[in-house]
Symmetry: C2
Amino acid sequence: MYYFDDFKIGDTFDLGTITVTEEEIVTFAQRYDPQPFHVSAEQAQESPFGGLIASGWHTIALFMNLFVRVILNNAISLASPGADEIRWLKPVRPEDILTAQLTVVESTPSRSRPEMGIVRVKWKATNQNDEIVLTMLSTHFLGRKP
Amino acid sequence: MYYFDDFKIGDTFDLGTITVTEEEIVTFAQRYDPQPFHVSAEQAQESPFGGLIASGWHTIALFMNLFVRVILNNAISLASPGADEIRWLKPVRPEDILTAQLTVVESTPSRSRPEMGIVRVKWKATNQNDEIVLTMLSTHFLGRKP
């Protein structure tokens, strides 16, 4: 189990890797982000990206899946009020392998609710060429060690 | 067609409405955000939310779908470098009907690329009880009127 008390500023958490398939890129985008360069390999060829790329929201969703499985579902997670500074720094393409890492940037006990604390983490996804493709900050309410 | 030149500070765009079903909430969350209060109506009953709620990423993805269909796929959209200040203000529950609106908050011609401009929009999703459930800022590179 993870508690608020386990997240100290500067701590890093390795979440594992994500492989992005063309099929899932297209399926996600058809429902949620149907821009031509996300849904059609053919039309994407003629786009500035020169080929199919994942929706930035899909990249975040895939990262979130690891974050939940590795950390949040093993903590008393009391939801998130928000996220900031999303930066999609490089396109994500089919068969890319992304490595997902979190770093704690803020860790503050709640003044009004002594049973919880507020943790802010920086997300970093790096592709197989060591290029950072995504950074972001998210905020989480986590239960404290009993 | 929409061009950069059509987005003036203060302009608003009504994107339409989103209805969120329990089935889609669970399907999205199983793959991308499998926290108990997103994937199981039963476990969600015992959570602080008292019932199933949508992943915040799912709410954004549903809004994005409208944004793309109404605006971006009718513009020369050259992708987005990022987004900021995501705030999930209220839970989104099955059968909620959300109204999606954009307001232009910045509109700047590109100095380095005269064929495009940079537009920043504020997202607002409101539920059927007139409660704001989501706000956010996103940045877009859009082609200029020829």
